[in-house]
Protein backbone atom coordinates (compact mmCIF):
# COMPACT_ATOMS: atom_id res chain seq x y z
CA UNK A 1 0.00 0.00 0.00
CA UNK A 2 2.73 2.42 1.02
CA UNK A 3 4.65 1.54 -2.09
CA UNK A 4 1.69 2.42 -4.26
CA UNK A 5 1.36 5.79 -2.63
CA UNK A 6 5.08 6.29 -3.09
CA UNK A 7 4.78 5.49 -6.77
CA UNK A 8 1.81 7.80 -7.09
CA UNK A 9 3.77 10.71 -5.68
CA UNK A 10 6.73 9.85 -7.87
CA UNK A 11 4.50 9.83 -10.92
CA UNK A 12 2.88 13.10 -9.89
CA UNK A 13 6.26 14.75 -9.61
CA UNK A 14 7.20 13.50 -13.03
CA UNK A 15 4.04 14.75 -14.68
CA UNK A 16 4.57 18.08 -13.01
CA UNK A 17 8.11 18.34 -14.33
CA UNK A 18 7.03 17.28 -17.79
CA UNK A 19 4.40 19.98 -18.15
CA UNK A 20 6.55 22.81 -16.86
CA UNK A 21 9.25 22.29 -19.44
CA UNK A 22 6.83 23.43 -22.14
CA UNK A 23 6.06 26.66 -20.38
CA UNK A 24 7.59 30.04 -21.12
CA UNK A 25 7.15 33.14 -19.02
CA UNK A 26 7.75 36.89 -19.01
CA UNK A 27 7.69 39.04 -15.92
CA UNK A 28 8.52 42.34 -17.62
CA UNK A 29 6.02 42.32 -20.42
CA UNK A 30 5.10 45.70 -21.85
CA UNK A 31 1.57 46.83 -22.49
CA UNK A 32 0.72 50.39 -23.47
CA UNK A 33 -2.49 52.07 -24.46
CA UNK A 34 -3.34 55.28 -26.25
CA UNK A 35 -6.37 57.51 -26.38
CA UNK A 36 -6.16 60.22 -28.99
CA UNK A 37 -8.76 62.97 -29.09
CA UNK A 38 -8.71 66.57 -30.26
CA UNK A 39 -8.85 67.70 -26.60
CA UNK A 40 -6.02 65.65 -25.14
CA UNK A 41 -3.84 62.63 -25.76
CA UNK A 42 -3.54 60.07 -23.04
CA UNK A 43 -0.95 57.35 -23.07
CA UNK A 44 0.14 54.90 -20.44
CA UNK A 45 2.61 52.07 -20.18
CA UNK A 46 2.91 49.06 -17.92
CA UNK A 47 6.32 47.38 -17.82
CA UNK A 48 5.48 44.71 -15.28
CA UNK A 49 3.02 42.56 -17.15
CA UNK A 50 3.12 38.85 -16.43
CA UNK A 51 2.47 36.33 -19.18
CA UNK A 52 2.93 32.62 -19.60
CA UNK A 53 2.65 30.33 -22.64
CA UNK A 54 2.17 26.58 -22.49
CA UNK A 55 3.42 25.28 -25.86
CA UNK A 56 2.17 21.77 -25.21
CA UNK A 57 -1.32 23.14 -25.80
CA UNK A 58 -0.47 26.54 -27.28
CA UNK A 59 -2.26 28.25 -24.44
CA UNK A 60 -1.40 31.73 -23.25
CA UNK A 61 -2.32 33.77 -20.18
CA UNK A 62 -1.59 37.42 -19.36
CA UNK A 63 -2.10 39.20 -16.04
CA UNK A 64 -1.31 42.78 -15.06
CA UNK A 65 -1.92 45.20 -12.22
CA UNK A 66 -3.89 48.20 -13.41
CA UNK A 67 -2.16 50.54 -10.98
CA UNK A 68 1.22 49.70 -12.55
CA UNK A 69 0.37 51.80 -15.61
CA UNK A 70 2.53 54.91 -15.76
CA UNK A 71 1.01 58.09 -17.19
CA UNK A 72 2.50 61.39 -18.24
CA UNK A 73 0.50 63.22 -15.57
CA UNK A 74 0.23 61.87 -12.04
CA UNK A 75 -3.38 63.01 -11.81
CA UNK A 76 -4.23 60.86 -14.84
CA UNK A 77 -2.90 57.85 -12.95
CA UNK A 78 -5.15 58.68 -10.01
CA UNK A 79 -8.22 59.27 -12.16
CA UNK A 80 -7.60 56.12 -14.21
CA UNK A 81 -7.44 53.96 -11.09
CA UNK A 82 -9.97 55.80 -8.96
CA UNK A 83 -12.67 56.99 -11.30
CA UNK A 84 -12.56 54.86 -14.42
CA UNK A 85 -10.99 51.42 -14.01
CA UNK A 86 -11.77 51.24 -10.26
CA UNK A 87 -8.65 49.29 -9.42
CA UNK A 88 -9.70 48.98 -5.77
CA UNK A 89 -12.46 46.65 -6.94
CA UNK A 90 -10.82 45.26 -10.08
CA UNK A 91 -7.07 45.39 -9.48
CA UNK A 92 -6.08 43.24 -12.45
CA UNK A 93 -6.69 42.85 -16.13
CA UNK A 94 -6.28 39.32 -17.42
CA UNK A 95 -6.28 37.46 -20.72
CA UNK A 96 -6.61 33.74 -21.26
CA UNK A 97 -6.59 32.17 -24.69
CA UNK A 98 -4.90 30.01 -27.23
CA UNK A 99 -2.63 30.59 -30.20
CA UNK A 100 -4.31 29.14 -33.27
CA UNK A 101 -2.32 26.83 -35.60
CA UNK A 102 1.01 27.59 -34.03
CA UNK A 103 4.08 25.44 -34.45
CA UNK A 104 6.45 26.18 -31.55
CA UNK A 105 9.34 24.38 -33.23
CA UNK A 106 9.48 26.50 -36.38
CA UNK A 107 12.08 29.27 -36.04
CA UNK A 108 11.68 32.78 -37.41
CA UNK A 109 8.62 35.01 -37.33
CA UNK A 110 5.08 33.78 -37.74
CA UNK A 111 1.92 35.85 -37.64
CA UNK A 112 -0.87 34.05 -35.84
CA UNK A 113 -4.25 34.75 -34.33
CA UNK A 114 -4.58 34.55 -30.57
CA UNK A 115 -8.14 33.97 -29.52
CA UNK A 116 -9.36 34.21 -25.97
CA UNK A 117 -11.10 36.04 -23.20
CA UNK A 118 -10.00 39.45 -21.99
CA UNK A 119 -11.17 40.65 -18.59
CA UNK A 120 -10.96 44.35 -17.71
CA UNK A 121 -13.00 46.15 -15.04
CA UNK A 122 -14.65 42.84 -14.14
CA UNK A 123 -16.06 42.38 -17.63
CA UNK A 124 -14.99 39.55 -19.91
CA UNK A 125 -14.94 39.87 -23.69
CA UNK A 126 -14.02 37.39 -26.36
CA UNK A 127 -11.32 38.85 -28.62
CA UNK A 128 -9.00 37.85 -31.45
CA UNK A 129 -5.58 39.44 -31.67
CA UNK A 130 -3.25 39.24 -34.63
CA UNK A 131 0.18 38.64 -33.15
CA UNK A 132 3.65 38.32 -34.56
CA UNK A 133 5.55 35.51 -32.84
CA UNK A 134 9.31 35.28 -33.16
CA UNK A 135 11.11 32.12 -32.12
CA UNK A 136 14.77 32.84 -31.34
CA UNK A 137 16.07 29.41 -30.41
CA UNK A 138 14.33 28.86 -27.15
CA UNK A 139 13.06 32.35 -26.37
CA UNK A 140 9.93 33.80 -27.88
CA UNK A 141 8.99 37.38 -28.66
CA UNK A 142 5.35 38.27 -29.11
CA UNK A 143 4.13 41.66 -30.19
CA UNK A 144 1.09 43.18 -31.71
CA UNK A 145 -1.66 45.67 -31.24
CA UNK A 146 -5.41 45.72 -31.07
CA UNK A 147 -8.27 48.06 -30.28
CA UNK A 148 -10.78 48.10 -27.46
CA UNK A 149 -14.09 49.88 -27.20
CA UNK A 150 -14.33 51.69 -23.87
CA UNK A 151 -18.10 51.15 -23.69
CA UNK A 152 -17.70 47.37 -23.85
CA UNK A 153 -16.13 47.32 -20.41
CA UNK A 154 -18.75 49.35 -18.58
CA UNK A 155 -16.35 52.21 -17.85
CA UNK A 156 -18.38 55.25 -16.93
CA UNK A 157 -17.29 58.55 -18.42
CA UNK A 158 -19.29 61.61 -17.39
CA UNK A 159 -20.74 63.42 -20.42
CA UNK A 160 -18.74 66.56 -19.67
CA UNK A 161 -15.49 64.61 -20.02
CA UNK A 162 -16.56 62.52 -23.00
CA UNK A 163 -14.57 64.66 -25.49
CA UNK A 164 -11.35 64.01 -23.51
CA UNK A 165 -11.40 60.24 -23.79
CA UNK A 166 -11.42 58.33 -27.05
CA UNK A 167 -14.23 55.87 -27.73
CA UNK A 168 -11.72 53.38 -29.04
CA UNK A 169 -8.45 52.78 -27.21
CA UNK A 170 -5.52 51.28 -29.06
CA UNK A 171 -3.39 48.81 -27.14
CA UNK A 172 0.14 47.65 -27.94
CA UNK A 173 2.03 44.82 -26.35
CA UNK A 174 5.48 43.28 -26.43
CA UNK A 175 6.39 40.17 -24.44
CA UNK A 176 9.75 38.39 -24.37
CA UNK A 177 9.44 34.90 -22.98
CA UNK A 178 12.06 32.81 -21.22
CA UNK A 179 11.74 29.13 -20.29
CA UNK A 180 9.74 28.86 -17.08
CA UNK A 181 11.54 27.35 -14.12
CA UNK A 182 9.68 27.10 -10.89
Amino acid sequence: MNKIIGIIFLLMNFTDFDVKSDQFITRQGQVSFFSYTSVENIEAKNNQVLSIIDFSKNEIAVSMLMNAFVFKKSLMHEHFNESYIESDLYPKATFEGSILDFDPLATGTQTKIIKGELTIHGITKEIEIKTSIENNNGTYLLNGDFELIVKDFDIKIPPILAPNIAKIISVKFRFEYQPYEK
Binding site: V19, Q23, S32, Q48, I52, L65, K73, E78, N81, I160
Partner: protein, 302 residues
Protein backbone atom coordinates in the same frame (compact mmCIF):
# COMPACT_ATOMS: atom_id res chain seq x y z
CA UNK B 1 -10.04 -8.13 -3.40
CA UNK B 2 -9.98 -5.32 -0.88
CA UNK B 3 -6.45 -4.55 -1.96
CA UNK B 4 -7.53 -4.37 -5.57
CA UNK B 5 -10.27 -1.86 -4.84
CA UNK B 6 -7.80 0.30 -2.98
CA UNK B 7 -5.39 0.09 -5.88
CA UNK B 8 -8.10 1.09 -8.33
CA UNK B 9 -9.13 3.96 -6.07
CA UNK B 10 -5.55 5.19 -5.89
CA UNK B 11 -5.25 4.79 -9.62
CA UNK B 12 -8.25 6.99 -10.24
CA UNK B 13 -7.05 9.55 -7.73
CA UNK B 14 -3.74 9.57 -9.57
CA UNK B 15 -5.45 10.14 -12.89
CA UNK B 16 -7.53 12.87 -11.34
CA UNK B 17 -4.42 14.52 -9.93
CA UNK B 18 -2.37 14.41 -13.07
CA UNK B 19 -5.18 15.83 -15.18
CA UNK B 20 -5.70 18.57 -12.65
CA UNK B 21 -2.01 19.39 -12.87
CA UNK B 22 -2.18 19.33 -16.64
CA UNK B 23 -5.22 21.51 -16.58
CA UNK B 24 -3.81 23.85 -13.98
CA UNK B 25 -4.90 27.28 -14.90
CA UNK B 26 -2.13 29.35 -16.44
CA UNK B 27 -3.61 32.41 -14.74
CA UNK B 28 -3.22 30.71 -11.36
CA UNK B 29 0.44 30.11 -12.17
CA UNK B 30 0.82 33.82 -12.96
CA UNK B 31 -0.93 34.77 -9.73
CA UNK B 32 2.00 33.26 -7.82
CA UNK B 33 4.51 35.13 -9.96
CA UNK B 34 3.51 38.61 -8.79
CA UNK B 35 6.41 40.19 -6.93
CA UNK B 36 5.70 40.94 -3.31
CA UNK B 37 5.85 44.73 -3.62
CA UNK B 38 3.64 46.61 -1.16
CA UNK B 39 0.52 48.20 -2.61
CA UNK B 40 -0.56 51.51 -1.11
CA UNK B 41 -3.98 53.04 -1.06
CA UNK B 42 -4.34 55.99 -3.38
CA UNK B 43 -6.80 58.85 -3.21
CA UNK B 44 -7.99 58.50 0.37
CA UNK B 45 -9.34 61.93 -0.48
CA UNK B 46 -9.37 63.42 -3.94
CA UNK B 47 -8.10 66.82 -2.99
CA UNK B 48 -5.57 68.33 -0.63
CA UNK B 49 -8.55 69.72 1.32
CA UNK B 50 -11.37 67.56 2.64
CA UNK B 51 -13.68 70.54 2.67
CA UNK B 52 -12.30 73.42 4.74
CA UNK B 53 -9.29 71.76 6.33
CA UNK B 54 -6.32 69.87 4.94
CA UNK B 55 -6.59 66.19 4.06
CA UNK B 56 -3.77 63.63 4.18
CA UNK B 57 -3.37 63.96 0.42
CA UNK B 58 -0.39 65.57 -1.23
CA UNK B 59 0.06 66.33 -4.87
CA UNK B 60 2.84 64.45 -6.62
CA UNK B 61 6.24 65.87 -7.49
CA UNK B 62 6.17 68.72 -9.95
CA UNK B 63 2.45 69.37 -9.65
CA UNK B 64 1.36 72.96 -9.10
CA UNK B 65 -2.09 73.70 -7.81
CA UNK B 66 -3.59 77.08 -8.46
CA UNK B 67 -6.32 77.65 -5.93
CA UNK B 68 -9.08 80.19 -5.60
CA UNK B 69 -11.03 79.64 -2.40
CA UNK B 70 -14.04 81.83 -1.80
CA UNK B 71 -16.53 82.36 1.02
CA UNK B 72 -19.74 84.31 0.58
CA UNK B 73 -22.05 85.49 3.33
CA UNK B 74 -24.68 88.07 4.13
CA UNK B 75 -24.75 90.69 6.85
CA UNK B 76 -28.09 90.78 8.74
CA UNK B 77 -30.25 93.85 8.03
CA UNK B 78 -27.69 95.17 5.58
CA UNK B 79 -29.04 97.76 3.17
CA UNK B 80 -26.24 97.56 0.59
CA UNK B 81 -26.56 96.39 -2.99
CA UNK B 82 -23.77 93.86 -3.27
CA UNK B 83 -23.58 91.39 -6.10
CA UNK B 84 -24.63 87.85 -5.03
CA UNK B 85 -23.68 88.24 -1.38
CA UNK B 86 -22.91 91.09 1.01
CA UNK B 87 -19.45 89.87 1.86
CA UNK B 88 -16.81 87.92 0.02
CA UNK B 89 -13.52 86.57 1.24
CA UNK B 90 -11.05 84.93 -1.11
CA UNK B 91 -7.81 83.10 -0.66
CA UNK B 92 -5.58 82.83 -3.68
CA UNK B 93 -2.83 80.30 -3.33
CA UNK B 94 -0.16 78.34 -5.11
CA UNK B 95 0.70 74.91 -3.79
CA UNK B 96 3.56 72.88 -5.23
CA UNK B 97 4.69 69.28 -4.85
CA UNK B 98 8.42 69.45 -4.07
CA UNK B 99 8.49 65.66 -3.91
CA UNK B 100 5.83 62.97 -3.92
CA UNK B 101 5.62 63.40 -0.16
CA UNK B 102 6.38 67.07 0.49
CA UNK B 103 4.18 70.00 -0.50
CA UNK B 104 4.81 73.71 -0.06
CA UNK B 105 2.05 76.25 -0.35
CA UNK B 106 1.54 79.97 0.09
CA UNK B 107 -1.57 82.06 -0.11
CA UNK B 108 -3.16 85.41 0.58
CA UNK B 109 -6.64 85.98 1.96
CA UNK B 110 -8.61 89.19 1.41
CA UNK B 111 -10.39 89.01 4.79
CA UNK B 112 -8.08 90.62 7.41
CA UNK B 113 -5.22 90.48 4.88
CA UNK B 114 -3.89 87.14 6.02
CA UNK B 115 -0.78 85.73 4.34
CA UNK B 116 -0.01 82.10 4.97
CA UNK B 117 2.61 79.54 4.08
CA UNK B 118 2.70 75.87 4.87
CA UNK B 119 4.66 72.66 4.54
CA UNK B 120 2.97 69.32 4.44
CA UNK B 121 4.74 65.98 4.61
CA UNK B 122 3.24 62.56 4.00
CA UNK B 123 4.83 60.44 6.68
CA UNK B 124 3.01 57.10 6.40
CA UNK B 125 0.93 55.62 3.61
CA UNK B 126 -1.88 53.19 4.23
CA UNK B 127 -1.07 49.70 2.90
CA UNK B 128 -3.62 47.75 0.93
CA UNK B 129 -2.48 44.27 1.78
CA UNK B 130 -1.94 42.89 5.25
CA UNK B 131 1.04 44.19 7.14
CA UNK B 132 2.19 47.77 7.00
CA UNK B 133 0.28 50.70 8.35
CA UNK B 134 -3.53 50.70 8.35
CA UNK B 135 -3.43 54.52 8.39
CA UNK B 136 -2.07 57.35 6.31
CA UNK B 137 -0.36 59.99 8.41
CA UNK B 138 0.56 63.46 7.16
CA UNK B 139 2.27 66.23 9.12
CA UNK B 140 1.15 69.78 8.50
CA UNK B 141 2.70 73.03 9.68
CA UNK B 142 1.63 76.50 8.70
CA UNK B 143 2.46 80.06 9.61
CA UNK B 144 0.08 82.90 9.03
CA UNK B 145 0.54 86.66 9.22
CA UNK B 146 -2.43 88.95 9.82
CA UNK B 147 -1.79 92.31 8.20
CA UNK B 148 -5.09 94.14 8.79
CA UNK B 149 -7.13 95.00 11.84
CA UNK B 150 -10.51 93.37 12.10
CA UNK B 151 -12.54 96.60 12.21
CA UNK B 152 -15.15 97.26 13.55
CA UNK B 153 -14.69 94.15 15.66
CA UNK B 154 -12.11 93.56 18.38
CA UNK B 155 -8.73 92.16 17.51
CA UNK B 156 -7.60 89.04 19.33
CA UNK B 157 -3.93 89.72 18.81
CA UNK B 158 -1.73 92.81 19.24
CA UNK B 159 -0.45 94.80 16.30
CA UNK B 160 2.72 96.26 17.89
CA UNK B 161 5.32 94.00 16.43
CA UNK B 162 5.71 91.74 13.39
CA UNK B 163 5.69 88.62 15.55
CA UNK B 164 2.48 89.78 17.30
CA UNK B 165 0.59 89.18 14.11
CA UNK B 166 1.83 85.63 13.54
CA UNK B 167 0.05 82.39 14.30
CA UNK B 168 1.26 78.83 13.91
CA UNK B 169 -0.80 75.72 13.30
CA UNK B 170 0.58 72.19 13.64
CA UNK B 171 -1.49 69.21 12.68
CA UNK B 172 -1.10 65.46 12.58
CA UNK B 173 -3.55 64.24 9.97
CA UNK B 174 -4.48 60.58 10.37
CA UNK B 175 -6.77 58.97 7.83
CA UNK B 176 -8.08 55.56 6.93
CA UNK B 177 -9.71 54.55 3.67
CA UNK B 178 -12.36 52.05 4.75
CA UNK B 179 -13.85 51.26 1.35
CA UNK B 180 -13.24 52.71 -2.11
CA UNK B 181 -16.06 55.13 -1.27
CA UNK B 182 -15.62 55.94 2.39
CA UNK B 183 -12.64 57.58 4.11
CA UNK B 184 -12.36 59.13 7.54
CA UNK B 185 -9.77 61.48 8.99
CA UNK B 186 -8.93 62.61 12.50
CA UNK B 187 -6.76 65.71 12.83
CA UNK B 188 -5.27 66.62 16.22
CA UNK B 189 -4.35 70.29 16.00
CA UNK B 190 -2.15 72.64 18.01
CA UNK B 191 -2.37 76.38 17.42
CA UNK B 192 -0.03 78.96 18.84
CA UNK B 193 -0.78 82.68 18.50
CA UNK B 194 2.09 85.16 18.66
CA UNK B 195 0.27 87.60 20.95
CA UNK B 196 -3.00 88.11 22.80
CA UNK B 197 -4.74 91.43 23.22
CA UNK B 198 -6.54 90.09 26.27
CA UNK B 199 -4.95 88.53 29.34
CA UNK B 200 -7.55 85.79 29.67
CA UNK B 201 -7.14 84.42 26.12
CA UNK B 202 -4.96 81.33 25.79
CA UNK B 203 -1.86 81.61 23.57
CA UNK B 204 -1.89 77.90 22.83
CA UNK B 205 -5.04 76.19 21.72
CA UNK B 206 -5.84 72.56 21.11
CA UNK B 207 -8.40 71.25 18.67
CA UNK B 208 -9.34 68.00 17.08
CA UNK B 209 -10.84 67.75 13.65
CA UNK B 210 -12.86 64.95 12.20
CA UNK B 211 -13.67 64.73 8.52
CA UNK B 212 -15.04 62.21 6.12
CA UNK B 213 -15.92 61.71 2.52
CA UNK B 214 -18.33 59.45 0.75
CA UNK B 215 -17.98 58.96 -2.98
CA UNK B 216 -21.26 59.04 -4.84
CA UNK B 217 -19.71 58.14 -8.17
CA UNK B 218 -16.36 58.23 -9.89
CA UNK B 219 -16.17 61.99 -9.79
CA UNK B 220 -18.46 63.33 -7.10
CA UNK B 221 -18.19 62.94 -3.35
CA UNK B 222 -19.94 64.33 -0.29
CA UNK B 223 -17.67 65.58 2.46
CA UNK B 224 -18.12 66.87 5.96
CA UNK B 225 -15.75 68.27 8.52
CA UNK B 226 -15.93 69.40 12.12
CA UNK B 227 -13.28 70.91 14.39
CA UNK B 228 -13.75 70.65 18.12
CA UNK B 229 -11.83 73.36 19.99
CA UNK B 230 -10.84 72.27 23.51
CA UNK B 231 -9.92 75.68 24.97
CA UNK B 232 -11.69 78.48 23.11
CA UNK B 233 -10.98 82.18 23.45
CA UNK B 234 -12.47 83.89 26.52
CA UNK B 235 -12.71 87.48 25.29
CA UNK B 236 -15.11 86.76 22.44
CA UNK B 237 -17.65 84.03 21.75
CA UNK B 238 -16.39 81.58 19.17
CA UNK B 239 -17.94 78.46 17.70
CA UNK B 240 -16.58 75.23 16.34
CA UNK B 241 -15.97 75.07 12.61
CA UNK B 242 -18.32 72.90 10.61
CA UNK B 243 -18.72 72.21 6.94
CA UNK B 244 -20.87 70.10 4.71
CA UNK B 245 -19.86 69.99 1.08
CA UNK B 246 -19.67 68.44 -2.32
CA UNK B 247 -16.44 67.84 -4.22
CA UNK B 248 -16.52 67.47 -7.95
CA UNK B 249 -13.50 66.69 -10.07
CA UNK B 250 -13.29 67.38 -13.75
CA UNK B 251 -10.05 66.28 -15.35
CA UNK B 252 -7.53 68.92 -14.19
CA UNK B 253 -10.05 70.96 -12.26
CA UNK B 254 -11.44 70.28 -8.82
CA UNK B 255 -14.49 72.14 -7.60
CA UNK B 256 -15.45 72.15 -3.95
CA UNK B 257 -18.70 73.58 -2.63
CA UNK B 258 -19.35 74.10 1.06
CA UNK B 259 -22.15 75.01 3.40
CA UNK B 260 -20.23 76.22 6.42
CA UNK B 261 -19.91 78.75 9.22
CA UNK B 262 -16.26 79.56 8.55
CA UNK B 263 -15.26 82.75 6.77
CA UNK B 264 -11.53 82.33 6.75
CA UNK B 265 -9.62 79.65 4.90
CA UNK B 266 -6.48 79.66 7.02
CA UNK B 267 -6.40 77.02 9.75
CA UNK B 268 -5.68 79.12 12.84
CA UNK B 269 -8.37 81.64 11.94
CA UNK B 270 -11.24 79.30 11.16
CA UNK B 271 -10.52 76.80 13.92
CA UNK B 272 -10.14 79.29 16.77
CA UNK B 273 -11.88 82.49 15.64
CA UNK B 274 -15.15 81.58 13.94
CA UNK B 275 -17.57 84.08 15.50
CA UNK B 276 -20.82 82.43 14.40
CA UNK B 277 -22.42 79.04 14.68
CA UNK B 278 -23.63 76.93 11.79
CA UNK B 279 -27.21 77.74 10.78
CA UNK B 280 -28.99 79.32 7.86
CA UNK B 281 -29.52 82.80 9.33
CA UNK B 282 -28.07 85.79 7.54
CA UNK B 283 -24.64 86.51 8.89
CA UNK B 284 -24.10 82.97 10.09
CA UNK B 285 -24.53 80.99 6.93
CA UNK B 286 -21.49 80.98 4.65
CA UNK B 287 -21.40 79.51 1.17
CA UNK B 288 -17.99 78.33 0.08
CA UNK B 289 -16.61 77.63 -3.35
CA UNK B 290 -13.08 76.44 -4.08
CA UNK B 291 -11.75 76.12 -7.59
CA UNK B 292 -8.49 74.23 -7.85
CA UNK B 293 -6.59 73.95 -11.09
CA UNK B 294 -3.91 71.27 -11.30
CA UNK B 295 -0.91 71.94 -13.51
CA UNK B 296 1.68 69.23 -14.21
CA UNK B 297 4.98 71.05 -14.58
CA UNK B 298 7.00 67.87 -14.51
CA UNK B 299 5.55 65.27 -16.84
CA UNK B 300 6.81 61.72 -16.87
CA UNK B 301 7.68 59.91 -20.03
CA UNK B 302 5.49 56.81 -20.03
Amino acid sequence: MKNNTLFLLCFFILIGFSTSIHGQDLLETLEKEYPDTPQYEIATFKSTRISIGHSVENRKKGVLEIMAMNRFWNIPNYGGQSFVADKLSSRLALEYGISDRLTFGAGATTLEGVYDGFLKYKLIRQRKSKGGSPFSVTLFQNTSYRSERNEPFVDINLFDDFTDQLAFTSQVLIAHKFTPQFSLQVSPTFIHRGSSAFEEDPHNQFAIGIGGRYKLGGHVSIVSEYYYLANPLKSIDTYDAFSLGVNWELSDVMLQFQLTNTRSMVEDAFITQTPNNFNFKDGNFVFGFNAIFVLHLNQKKP
